[in-house]
């Protein structure tokens, strides 16, 4: 019985990580400062299969969820309906910008990526 409980505990804790997107870029910066994390901006738009892939497959992966939850305040910006913060360039979507809590750019990645590649991108961003 206790064995089962242990397993349950372990499984339950996995469910703790689910990507919580910040409501806005400004809010993300504020949270990043508070939680001593970096900000991950995802620029996307409607009708972009690669964006959908990131959302439906890559961000659903536990390793990725964990890495984002642990190190970043993620925020979503639709390049056609939201205001794109100045300085965040893109030639298309998805484009990822990684910034520290003061808004300094740390890294940019253009386009979608599969799970190991995106994990590599997350890991290569300098920790706050």
């Amino acid at each position: 019985m206790s064995k089962v409980l242990w397993a349950l505990t372990l499984i339950a804790s996995c469910a703790l990580a689910e990507i919580k997107w910040a409501p806005s870029y400004d809010a993300a910066l504020v949270s990043a400062k508070q939680e001593k994390k970096n900000v991950m901006v995802m620029l996307s738009k409607e009708g972009c299969p690669a964006c959908d892939y990131m959302e439906n497959v890559v961000f659903e992966e536990r390793v990725i969820e964990d890495a984002i939850t642990k190190g970043f305040i993620p925020v979503h910006i639709d390049v056609h309906t939201d205001k794109v913060p100045s300085g965040l360039g893109f030639i298309g979507t998805p484009t990822f910008h990684f910034l520290n809590a003061s808004g300094e750019k740390l890294k940019r990645h253009d386009g979608g990526a599969n799970i190991p590649t995106f994990m590599g991108i997350l890991n290569s961003v300098k920790k706050p």
Partner: protein, 609 residues
């Protein structure tokens, strides 16, 4: 570990670099014949254009030259949209609307939007192209054709400028505070499970044979530190001791969480998981008295001296804090296990809470004994060794659970079976009852042990026959029985596993006349495993899949061969399923990206042409 990060990092260096929009789309205008203008958009590698986003417009409606008709090349279906994989070959027939002579300038507004199948969708592009044509050669027929012709009947959304306008909306920043976070964890419910289980473990730990006899001794030492011994004061002093001990454990939990946070990715790799599972096995051996794991004696005695120097409440607090560091042989292994587990979650908050409740659990007997001055105390005895053994079994259980993420279900099932048999035999499943009376505790335990033994044996037997569901270990036998009656129809096709596009081409060539299903898989992709375990193993899906040639592409290596698939078929990564028709042509509109439940896939398969 560093090697791992390097490996991850180097992968990004091999990552795809995308063409700039001006390299991806190269529009050019030319004269095809005397009254036809051609517009071609040369597409870079992997680039495609959306047909419904392609728009051609007469930039100057008053120049006397109008567009009579606009034609374009054949589009193809791609991910549910009509797209051009090569230049759309736009052909505009022009006519003269007023009297014009000699060379005339024609301006065309062109807008288009496209994506790279390697995973980037470009912003809408607008451009104006110019060409000079000889008006003398044009037909002068009057026409009422509209001068704006869309590439498709579908209404084209107005194209937004690339630079977003400065909006003066100021959104109030919504702050997600730390308390919100804690609240959401608590709402999730799982935190209570963790608190309760760690509290329980703490309680159990204090009932192990090398901790329990210490309790009266510790409590008398605590009470000696505070001179007057009223029940109330005794309770407070014991509480101070327990809480200080809890502080030490909480710090350990938080540290484990913080340390683990940086190693999240590493914890997911098979060899790290294997190493940790082995550590748990080694730790469990300590619980079965194979060896003694504890802090060296000279450190223990130094710490106890430190704690014992001061009197009164502070002395008790110090004793509590330092005694947490004097970890006895029964506590060391489970504690190490708990810390490794916390490290795995990488959650400092969770770690703190878990270890705090663990130490409070450990402190409860101390509180009771301390407060009642030893009047209330369970009798130590053999049962305490059983408690210790429970921890040993739990550690082994965790080891199996961990290695289960690396091994296949069947092997894991066999391991569980083995553990169950060991447990059953050790608690006396096959020992003679001897003079123990009917309904004695011994007899009841034997009955329980016998059930565990039966379950363990069925896991082993079922496992050897290929079972993978621990709740139905004997499934293989039931299936083979009904299978025998219903003839050999229950054997299903299996995936042919490949890793290169060349292999796929060969299979497609071999199987002309048969539809082919190509599944993209990788070890690092959880939803792929879900596909295997839930969807592909569904009986109804299997029957439907038997009608197809089944191929599985393994993209685990994420190397050039794997990336060649991404390029060739415009899939971003696994999971994805492609379907080829009898002639070996890819059915673009049938492509599946992401996980599908058995029912969804079944409907999809039935809907195939």
């Amino acid at each position: 570990m560093r090697f791992l990060f390097l490996m991850f990092f180097s992968m990004t260096l091999f990552g795809v670099s995308f063409l700039q929009p001006e390299e991806a789309f190269k529009p050019r205008i030319s004269q095809i014949d005397q009254d036809t203008i051609g517009i071609d958009i040369d597409l870079g590698e992997d680039i495609y254009l959306y047909k419904n986003k392609l728009k051609v417009e007469d930039a100057n409606l008053k120049d006397g030259i109008d567009f009579k008709s606009v034609r374009m090349g054949q589009s193809v279906e791609h991910g549910g949209e009509q797209v051009f994989l090569t230049s759309p070959a736009i052909r505009i027939d022009v006519i003269k609307k007023s009297v014009l002579n000699g060379d005339q300038k024609v301006k065309v507004n062109l807008s288009y939007q496209g994506c790279s199948s390697a995973g980037l969708c470009y912003e809408p592009q607008d451009t104006t192209l110019e060409i000079v044509i000889d008006a003398d050669q044009l037909d002068g027929v009057k026409t009422t054709e509209p001068s704006v012709i869309k590439a498709d009947a579908i209404a084209v959304k107005s194209v937004k400028p690339l630079v977003a306008e400065e909006k003066n909306e100021t959104k109030a920043p919504v702050i997600t505070s730390e308390t919100d976070k804690i609240a959401s964890v608590i709402q999730g419910g799982s935190i209570w499970l963790i608190i309760i289980s760690f509290f329980g473990f703490g309680l159990l730990l204090s009932l192990t044979p090398c901790v329990f006899p210490m309790i009266p001794i510790i409590s008398s030492v605590i009470l000696a530190q505070g001179e007057g011994i009223g029940t109330k004061k005794a309770f407070w002093l014991s509480l101070v001791y327990v809480l200080s001990m809890a502080v030490a454990y909480t710090i350990a939990g938080v540290l484990a969480g913080l340390f683990g946070a940086n190693l999240q990715a590493a914890f997911q790799t098979p060899w790290i998981i294997t190493v940790f599972a082995l550590i748990f096995v080694v730790l469990s051996l300590s619980m079965f008295d194979v060896y003694e794991l504890q802090v060296p004696n000279f450190i223990q005695s130094r710490i106890s001296r430190l704690g014992g120097q001061k009197g009164g409440i502070i002395g008790v607090a110090l004793m509590g804090f330092f005694s947490a560091l004097i970890v006895g042989p029964c506590v060391a292994a489970p504690l190490a296990g708990a810390l490794i587990y916390i490290g795995q979650t990488g959650d400092a908050l969770l770690g703190g809470i878990a270890l705090f409740t663990l130490s409070i659990g450990m402190g409860v007997p101390l509180l009771i004994v301390g407060t009642t001055s030893g009047k209330f105390m369970p009798k130590p005895g053999m049962w305490m060794d059983a408690v210790k053994a429970i921890f040993g079994v739990m550690l082994l259980g965790i080891a199996i659970w961990m290695i289960g993420r690396v091994l296949d279900e069947n092997t894991t099932l066999l391991l569980w079976g083995g553990l169950a048999v060991f447990v059953a035999i050790n608690i006396g499943a096959l020992e003679a009852l001897g003079e123990h009376a009917a309904w004695s505790a011994r007899a009841n335990i034997k009955a329980l042990a016998f059930m565990i033994l039966l379950y363990g044996v069925s896991l082993l037997v079922g496992g050897m026959a290929g079972a993978h569901n621990p709740l139905h270990p004997l499934e293989p036998f039931i299936q083979s029985k009904t299978g025998a009656i219903a003839s050999a129809d229950t054997t299903h096709k299996t995936f042919e596993k490949i890793t290169s596009t060349e292999e796929l081409d060969a299979i497609l060539a071999e199987n002309k006349g048969k539809p082919v299903m190509v599944d993209f898989y990788a070890d690092w992709c959880t939803s792929c495993k879900e596909f295997e375990e839930k969807t592909f193993s569904d009986e109804a899906v299997k029957i439907e899949m038997d009608k197809l040639v089944l191929v599985q592409v393994n993209l685990t290596a994420n190397d050039d061969a794997a990336k060649a698939f991404t390029k060739k078929y415009g899939i971003f990564g696994p999971p994805a399923i492609l379907f080829f028709d009898e002639t070996g042509h890819l059915q673009n509109d049938a492509t599946i990206v992401g996980f599908k439940e058995p029912k969804e896939l079944l409907n999809h398969l039935k809907g195939l042409k």
